[in-house]
């Protein structure tokens, strides 16, 4: 009984456990890894992927997907950067513009998915390509150098907490509250569980879906802003493959690609940190740079495998028992202990 409930507990908290195991593995392999400073660095580097992944979680909870987040990051950062570089705009104005571009990008996705009833995968694959093309056209594929104020924000801190982490934490908490404590959030889960039922139940399915893509767009832009504030420059390759990391972070955190299942806290946040931890851990261990992606991929596969094992096991455990076995639990335990010694 006890062993079993422990097993269930472990399965239910698989992301957390995986996190601990990987942390301790790297920790034993490299002492420096365990220092508080390196953990802070990991979270700091994870913050931008984490923010993007939180937006992705909204979309995935509805049963959709947004492949365009990396492009969105790039385009919105380019606009913000050019405003500062060419028009001498203040970082605040640039920030507002950046989020506005992100929202607009999300709105384009939402329009095609909700109004034109196109498939999210294809829509966002299209905007992924189109958005990057547009951004490259604007910049003539040159990097956009950001003013030093941006770098000061990116490397600054508040009461000792680095700014990127601060933004990450705030976004995570707000997202968690929205998902768990607001109608919108609960409707996101309902739509992801069954959109037809949601429609029949009178839920504004279209509005809910559109909101999810808007949130995702805004989060992508915000994540991009946080990232470029650490880099000081918006390079043409900025944001490439971020969508994959964001999706991986959400899935590692327990989100389902079919919708309706997943959390921001701890789920996606842990997933994002986990990915960065693996990345940094491999650097710490001086693993060959060409081998690193392979190890990373292996860990992601392992995590998703664990997740699928977990889901099927939990489903079996949660299956309703229709009869009470008279020989279960105490009686078996007691008869066994009494019966065993004499036979031996």
């Amino acid at each position: 009984m006890n062993g079993r409930s422990l097993w269930v507990l472990a399965l239910r908290n698989a992301p957390l456990l995986l996190f601990a195991i990987i942390f301790l593995t790297f920790g034993t392999l490299s002492e420096r890894f365990l220092e508080l400073q390196s953990f802070e660095n990991i979270v700091k580097q994870a913050s931008f992927i984490g923010i993007v992944a939180i937006g992705m979680t909204f979309v995935m909870l509805t049963g959709g997907i947004d492949l365009s987040v990396g492009t969105n990051m790039y385009l919105s950062a380019v606009v913000a950067g050019l405003l500062m570089q060419e028009l001498d705009a203040s970082p605040w104005i640039a920030f507002v513009a950046c989020i506005a571009v992100g929202l607009a990008f999300g709105a384009v996705n939402a329009f095609m998915i909700v109004r034109l009833r196109m498939v999210p995968f294809i829509v966002t694959l299209g905007t992924l390509v189109a958005g990057r093309g547009l951004a490259l056209l604007i910049t003539e594929s040159r990097g956009v150098i950001l003013p030093s104020e941006m770098l000061r924000f990116g490397s600054g801190d508040l009461f000792g907490v680095p700014n990127p982490i601060l933004v990450f934490v705030v976004v995570a908490i707000v997202a968690q509250v929205v998902l768990v404590r607001t109608r919108l959030g609960r409707h996101v889960y309902a739509v992801g569980f069954d959109d037809k039922s949601a429609r029949k139940a009178g839920i504004g399915v279209d509005r809910t879906l559109a909101t999810a893509y808007l949130v995702c767009g805004a989060c992508a832009a915000l994540g991009g802003f946080v990232s470029v504030s650490q880099l000081g420059i918006v390079n043409p390759g900025f944001g490439e493959f971020t969508e994959l990391y964001a999706i991986a972070a959400a899935v590692l955190g327990g989100a389902s690609l079919f919708g309706g299942v997943g959390t921001v806290l701890p789920g996606t946040v842990l997933g994002a940190i986990l990915i960065q931890m693996v990345q940094s851990g491999l650097v710490f261990l001086r693993v060959d740079i060409y081998v690193q992606p392979l190890v990373q991929a292996a860990i992601i596969f392992l995590a998703v495998l664990l997740d699928s094992v977990r889901n099927s096991t939990l489903r079996n455990l949660d299956r309703r028992k229709i009869r009470v076995e008279p020989t279960a639990a105490r009686s078996t335990a007691s008869t066994r202990s009494r019966a065993d010694p004499p036979t031996r």
Binding site: V177, R181, T182, R183, L184, R186, H187, Y189, A190, G192, F193, D194, S197, A198, R199, K200, A201, G202, I203, G204, G260, V261, D318, R320, K321, I322, R323, V324, E325, P326, A328, S331
Partner: protein, 523 residues
């Protein structure tokens, strides 16, 4: 007791709760509903009956704002009512409880009940969880469900889910509640609880439209009855004027003397499915029986007695811890459906929408599904012509009625009875040795049931052993050659046809409480 009377006298003065005037709807030019008049008073339960395809669903979908009528009008409380979407219907106090429940398994009971009106903290966009729980608790008390409102809906039994769905309607303060076949997955006790609740709601002055094929339920519940056939109203009036034969005669337009086709049982064949001491902890225990060729073996039990679970184990969908299943003498343990099918088993599942059919695929595609792996023989590619002709032959045999003679029509657009025939067709194309049918008549009308039974008889005559699982005792007694009664995961009684006696069967099926408490006491 005086409530219905006062409601009735009030309705004489005020307009009826709901009125249809010449309501009509066509699909592609074909009338689904035409010229229907209907009046639903305050504090009345109106039962709507008719065969599948008679237009009941279309009519209710218009009322629920899912479809727009193209003739006639609807009035609520004397005011014109033109819902453009389901939300308009709930706004107008109309709640539609569909056959497939609209619940979100990943949310709690409280969230489901108040999905649209989650109470908020004053001045904040946040859900007030304490108020949410309190309001849900009130609703749960009103429907007599003693479960924590924080329970996830996935963890509930079908009967409990049904009550939660009604709770949703109450929370939205619905004045007109439509229930479509609400009892199909309920136990007798759950049904009794539901009916008590529905009568109470009526006495509170709410109006209910109850759609069902279970005519005994209709008689027990209805104040008035409306009968539809081919989209038209062919009868109606106070329930007191109806009895079962009259209802059936009005529905089908001819009188059915017998609900079941005559069954001639000849000599039974050799054993084709032999089950010995089959056990799976928590599910079934020590099940043994033999099914012979040409036999229809009925399995009865209340909801949760383990009927469907047994079927799933026999078909290799779920594991078993001990015991043997021998199919046509072969004892190799069954591991998965591929294996089971290869050995001549077929399984018509109880949930045809989820498990039995690909709703958006054509009839031909659905029918070819099971036999496909064995029809690749000629080469790499499928022989579309052969599939088509096999499906056509099967459709004719099953008297499957499709609007499209080539059977390219998606299954979703068929009536329940024809969907069920498609499921059966897909399994029997390969002439199985053992056919397991789990609730094959659920939600289909009298005429379609008769046809399903006819198919069963024909298959049995050809040598198939049929395991016919059902919660409809009357049907089992009418069709089966022999009856097993399950209770608490065990086979507790067996009746040969000569000894069929509904009281004794029910006694065996209901013995659960005593046995459960007895086990508790002895432990």
């Amino acid at each position: 007791m005086s409530a219905p009377a006062s409601a009735a006298s009030a309705s004489a003065a005020s307009p009826p709760a709901l009125e249809f005037r010449g309501l009509g709807k066509r699909f592609f030019g074909v009338p689904a509903v035409s010229g229907v008049d209907l009046e639903l008073r305050h504090g009345e339960i109106l039962c709507l009956i008719g065969e599948n395809g008679a237009g009941k669903s279309t009519m209710m979908n218009m009322l629920g704002g899912v479809l727009a009528p193209d003739a006639g009008e609807m009035l609520i409380g004397g005011e014109p009512y033109r819902p453009a979407k389901p939300a308009d219907a709930s706004e107008a106090g109309v709640a539609f409880i569909h056959q497939e429940l609209n619940l979100f398994g990943n949310l709690t009971i409280a969230e489901n009940i108040l999905i649209n009106t989650m109470p908020r903290l004053p001045g904040l966009p946040l859900v007030n969880r304490r108020a949410l729980r309190r309001e849900a608790r009130e609703v749960l008390d009103a429907i007599g469900l003693d479960i924590s409102p924080d329970t996830k809906v996935d963890a509930l039994a079908p009967g409990e889910k049904q009550l939660v769905e009604i709770g949703k309607a109450l929370a939205a303060d619905a004045r007109i509640i439509i229930l479509d076949e609400p009892t199909t997955s309920l136990t007798n006790r759950e049904t009794a609880v539901l009916f008590e609740l529905l009568k109470r709601l009526r006495d509170e002055g709410r109006s209910l439209i109850y759609i069902s094929h279970v005519l005994a339920d209709v008689l027990a519940l209805a104040d008035s009855i409306v009968v539809l056939r081919d989209g038209e109203r062919v009868g109606g009036g106070p329930a007191a004027e109806f009895d079962q034969p009259r209802m059936i005669a009005t529905m089908v337009g001819r009188s059915i003397d017998q609900l079941f086709p005559p069954r001639e049982v000849g000599e039974l064949g050799e054993p084709v499915l032999e089950v010995e001491s089959l056990s799976q902890p928590g599910i079934v225990r020590d099940i043994s029986f033999t099914l012979r060729r040409k036999e229809v073996l009925g399995v009865y039990g209340l909801m949760g007695a383990g009927r469907s679970e047994l079927a799933r184990i026999l078909f290799g969908l779920d594991p078993h811890a001990s015991g043997t299943v021998r199919v046509a003498g072969d004892v190799t343990p069954m591991s998965d459906p591929i294996d089971s099918i290869a050995r001549g088993m077929a399984f018509v599942t109880e949930d045809r929408r989820d498990e039995g059919l690909l709703m958006d695929s054509s009839i031909v595609d659905n029918m070819s599904l099971v036999s496909l792996p064995r029809r690749g023989g000629g080469g790499l590619f499928l022989d579309a012509k052969e599939l088509q002709s096999t499906a056509l032959g099967m459709a004719e045999r099953l008297s499957l009625r499709s609007g499209d003679p080539t059977l390219a029509q998606p299954v979703r657009s068929l009536s329940g009875g024809n969907q069920q025939k498609t499921v059966i067709g897909k399994w029997v194309i390969e002439r199985p040795d053992v056919l397991i049918m789990d609730e094959p008549t659920r939600g289909i009308d009298v005429g379609a049931k008769y046809e399903v039974f006819t198919i069963m008889n024909a298959l049995a005559a050809e040598g198939t052993g049929i395991l016919y699982i059902s919660s409809e005792l009357e049907e089992l007694l009418g069709v089966a050659d022999r009856l097993l009664v399950m209770n608490d995961g065990m086979v507790v009684a067996e009746f040969p046809r000569e000894a069929f006696d509904s009281e004794r069967v029910l006694a065996a099926a209901f013995a659960r409480e005593q046995s459960a408490t007895a086990t508790e006491a002895s432990a």
